[in-house]
Every structure is written in C-alpha cells, then in structure tokens.
Amino acid sequence: MPVSSVQMARVLHDSLNDESNKNEVVRLFLEFCEEKKLTHLLPNIVKHLEKINAKKIADNTIRVYVARNQDKDVVDMIVDFVSKKSDAPISVHKDEKIIGGFVALYRNTVYDGSVTKQLSRAKEILSV
C-alpha cells in the first residue's frame, strides 16, 4: 500500500510528543525511511510537519481581539479568564468593529465580551 507524506508527517508528529526520546524517534524514523526506500518523501514530510506544527501552535494560541490598545494587565486578566492554568502563547489583535470589551478565541471556543455583543443582546430584549 502506498504511503503518503501527510500520513508519515502525522505519525512522526504524534511520536514526537514524548520529550525524553525525541532523538531516538527521529533516528528510527530515518532508518525506516531508508529501509522502505521512502527517503524521496522527506522534503514533503518536513513541509507537512511544519504545517501540522503551525496548526497546533495556532490552535493552542489564545487570540485576543480588542478595540484599542490595552495594558498588559488587562490582557493578562482576559487570558486568565479564558484559561487559568495555561502557558499557551498569546496574540493580541486590534478590531475596532467590536467597539469595546474583548473577544478571545482559544481551542475552538469564542469568548465574546464585546460591546457589539452586549448591544445586540440589548436590541433583542427591546425588540421582543
């Protein structure tokens, strides 16, 4: 059965989760590639590995959207609200559409504390 570089990259990425024997995993992986005559796939495997890694980092990043520049304390409070015990990377973006407050995105969940959201909720209550 033919093996795709994406599959190989996924397997390698999953195997590299264990910090203690990373070098050993890479050595065994290269040996396997040589044995199965798959070394020609290595450039593509590396490319997919980078993509998977970038996606993983993006998924784990706490993205915070604010209407104007905020102090670090404010951002820390938001991050603390989103994930108390996380050491995830943080990226702060400016989005004037939210008027005020914040919107945070972390691991497939949106935390919407924006003024736009509160106004739309108020609108719903008033229009009933």
């Binding site: 609200f81 995105l105 497939n108 969940t109 949106v110 935390y111 919407d112 504390g113 959201k117 509160q118 909720r121 108020a122 209550i125 008033l126 009933v128």
Partner: protein, 495 residues
C-alpha cells in the same frame, strides 16, 4: 406617549439585562463546494444542528466524523472560503409556523416568497420530529372527499391515511392532488401543498389556480423549486409536515401533498454523494427508505385524548415508462396505505383521470367511506372488475353471448361515466346518484358516446332540483332515500 413613559418602559425592559461574556464553540472551514462544507473543530456538534457561517448563512450538520463535520449550506455560499469560522448555534433546525401561514407561499425555512410581506405571529417548530406513537393514534374512520368519482367510489381515502399517487410524467398526478385540495372547501380541512424541484412557473400556475378557486383560503404552499439548492429541496417536505403538525396539534384535520418524492429522493442522493456517503442501489444512500418512512409516518389520525386531529398525506411519485418496480416507487408503495396508479395508455385514450383501477388500492380507506357510497360502490367495483377481465378476452372472440355483451356494454358506459374534467370535483351526493343510476341500468339505453352528455345534464338536474335529496344521501342511506333517488332517476329517464 410622553418621553418619561418611553424611558420608564425601556428601563423596565432592560432591568433583566446583565452584561455577560458569551462562550460559543467554533470550527474552521477546511473545504467548501457544491453546497457542502467540511469543517474541523466543532467537537461537540450534534446531528442536524444549525451552524452559522460568516454573513449569517445557516448550514445543517449532517455528517459527524472523527475529525471533521460535514454540513449542507442553506443559501448562497459563494462568499464562504477555506479558513472561515463557523459557529455552533446549539439549535436543531426549526421553522416558524402559525395560522398566518395559511394563504401564503413559503420556502423550506418558512420565509414568505409570495411578496406579501413577513409572516407574523408564529412559533418555532422542529423540522425533524419523531412520529406520534401507537397509543396516541386511532384507526382511520372519516373520509377525505377528493371529489373525483373514481377515487371516492373505488379507492377511498380516509383522514390520516397515506395514499400514494403514482404514474409516469404527464398522466395527471398533480391534477388529482389539486382537485382534492379544491374539493376541501367547507370540509373543515387545512391543506398544504409541498412543491419539490418544480419549475417556478408551474408553482405560480398552481398557486394562481388555487387562488382562483378560493382554495388558498385554507391552503399553504411550501416550495423548493428546481432552482433551489438541493438542501432546500431535501428540507421542504419536512417543513411542510412541521406546519401540518402545528394544525394537527390544535385538533384540526390537515391534507398534505408532497409533489413529488422522486425529486426529493434525487435531491437527497445529491447531498449524500457530495457528503461522500457510500452509494447503494441506483446510487441512492442506504437510508433513502428511512428518508421517506420517517416523513410519511408523521401522517396519522390522533385519538380524542390527544386532540383528535389528523394528517392525510398524498405523496406523489413519478415513474419511468410505468415501471413501479424501481427503487423509490417500491419503497414508497410499501410505506403508504395504498396507491392510485395512473396509466399513460389510459390517459392517451382519453380516459381522464387515467386511474388504473386494477393496479390501484386503498388499504384502510374502505372503513372511512360514507354509508351511501359504500352501498353503491360495491356493485361498481364488481362491474369494473368483470369488464376489465372480459375486455381483454373480447378482443380475440368474435361471437359473444348475450350476458358477456351486456357486461361489456355496462363497463364501457361506466368508464365514460367515471371520466371527469380537471378542476371540477363532484360532491358525494352527486357521485352516489350517478353510480346508483348506472347500477339500476339507467345508462343501458344510452349510446356510449352520449354518456358524457347525459352525465352533465343529470348532474345539473340533480343539483338544481334535488338539493335536499343530495344532502340526505350525504348524511346516510336507507330504503326511503334509495326509493326517492330511484324515482328521481326513473322520472329523469322518462323525460
């Protein structure tokens, strides 16, 4: 109203308002095309859940896979691209329903498409719902008068029954359904006509006809035309039955026409193939039977303890070259409580409605038939059955005995009598009088080609001069009524 009052009212309304941080699960579009989107994330997404795409576009999650979710999009999706964020709504698809839907034309999502403005005073109802259970049902015992003499006499339909109308293209399937809707005027019945995959012009013509005959006063039309996305065509019948259930839950009787379920199955096949579900026979997915069974099972007659309402379904299936053994026709035949089979040969012979009485059947409607009709129709069915048998035989025989000739003559005359023009349904009383006249031999002295003429004159004679007798026939049947009717027919024959 003073400014202070307005401010006070706003304050009262906003007294419960509390600023909150809303959390929502989101996913990312990884693939989009042909009305289908595949998303990553959305780990907790439920089956049939509504998803919100950018621009307020709604989709329904149909495929929940290990790493991705497959959804159909209900609208224009050209602005959706890879990497877009999709939000879960936590709600299963529902449509707004209410009394205000009557007289309106709506799409599969309950939006008005007739240009008469928004539909107000509605409540939301789930499109997909489990059919009522056994303990809430009762047997079919009240008739649905289609106004078509051949059906009401030989293939009677009861309230709560599912009667399939099946036949090739251009054999008058829709005409039967529309005639039945037209005949429900004053019969305490709400009607819903679901047009699936039809031309917009055809739907417009049907609506115009319903308006012209006054049938839109008690009818709602749900349309997902040929130009609509297959997802809308797939949803339209479920939207129609959700509206029907609203009326049934209020204890009302509803007639729903699905025109047609062949196109519905094709729309579902398209969606399933795009979602990469494994194809089965004729490339339909494995659950195509369940697609129609779960829809038609929602038609029922509720018992008194549960409101006593009913949904009568008239699904339509289009066959190819009269082949009723194809996949979808056999499925729907097995689900329904009988079928009205329309034959293209009969249609081109001028026998309209082109009902093939031999291949048509009503499994439960007999017990719902009116007493007077039941009394006279028995003889009619027998005469027609004998005629069909002898008709084929008589083509090869040159010399026939007197009895056979008599039966053939009667059969020919009854066939002429059962011909009925479109959009002219007949009341039960008139139908009974016509059949009774044939039974007692009133047609024997009339030339076959003159039967139609006689029929028209007899109908106008009965409706103009014997209204009270026709009413009595509708109420019941006894020797006195029979005697009176016999005298009227004999007097008419003498004239």
């Amino acid at each position: 109203m003073s400014v202070d009052t307005v401010i006070q009212q706003l304050k009262t309304r906003l007294s419960d308002f509390d600023a909150q941080i809303e959390t929502q699960e989101v996913g990312t579009v990884i693939e989009v095309g042909d009305g289908i989107a595949r998303m990553s994330g959305l780990d907790k997404c439920r089956a049939s859940e509504m998803l919100e795409f950018p621009g307020g576009l709604i989709g329904i999650a149909l495929n929940l896979e290990e790493e991705t979710v497959g959804a159909v999009m209900l609208g224009e999706y050209a602005h959706i691209g890879e990497g877009d964020t999709v939000k879960r709504t936590g709600k299963v698809l529902s449509i707004p329903v209410g009394d205000a839907c009557i007289g309106r034309v709506i799409d599969a999502l309950g939006n008005a498409v007739d240009g008469k403005g928004d539909i107000k005073d509605t409540e939301d109802r789930l499109i997909e719902k489990i059919a009522p259970g056994v303990m809430t049902r009762q047997p079919v015992d009240e008739p649905v008068q289609t106004g078509i003499i051949a059906i009401d006499a030989m293939i009677p339909v009861g309230r709560g029954q599912r009667e399939l109308i099946i036949g090739d293209r251009q054999t008058g399937k829709t005409a039967i359904a529309i005639d039945t809707i037209i005949n429900q005027k004053g019969q305490n019945m709400k009607c819903i006509y679901v047009a699936i995959g039809q031309k917009e012009s055809t739907v417009a013509r049907t609506v115009a006809k319903l308006e012209e005959t006054g049938a839109m006063e008690y009818t709602a039309v749900v349309t997902a035309s040929a130009s609509s996305a297959s997802s809308m065509q797939y949803l339209a019948p479920y939207a129609g039955v959700a509206l029907a259930e609203y009326f049934m839950d209020k204890g009302e009787d509803v007639l729903i026409v699905y025109d047609d379920l062949s196109k519905h199955a094709v729309a579902y096949r398209e969606i399933s193939l795009l979602l990469r579900r494994p194809p089965g026979r004729e490339a339909y997915p494995g659950d195509v039977f369940y697609l129609h069974s779960r829809l038609l099972e929602r038609s029922c007659r509720r018992n008194k303890e549960h409101g006593g309402g009913s949904i009568t379904a008239l699904p339509i299936i289009e066959t190819q070259a009269g082949d009723i053994s194809a996949y979808i026709p056999t499925n729907v035949i097995s689900i329904t409580d009988g079928q009205i089979f329309l034959n293209s040969d009969l249609f081109y012979k001028g026998i309209r409605p082109a009902i093939d009485v031999g291949a048509s059947v009503s499994r439960v409607g007999g017990s719902a038939q009116r007493k007077s009709m039941k009394k006279v129709a028995g003889k009619l069915k027998l005469a027609m059955a004998q005629y069909r048998e002898l008709e084929a035989f008589a083509q090869f025989a040159s010399d026939l005995d007197e009895n056979t000739k008599k039966q053939l003559d009667l059969g020919q005359r009854i066939t002429e009598l059962l011909k009925q023009p479109q959009y002219s349904p007949l009341p039960v009383g008139v139908q009974v009088a016509l059949i009774y006249a044939a039974n007692i031999g009133a047609l024997d002295g009339i030339e076959v080609k003159e039967v139609q003429n006689w029929r028209e004159k007899f109908i106008s004679h009965m409706t103009s001069g014997h209204g009270p007798l026709l009413e009595k026939i509708e109420q019941g049947w006894n020797e006195e009524i029979e005697g009176e009717l016999k005298t009227v027919i004999e007097d008419y024959a003498k004239k």
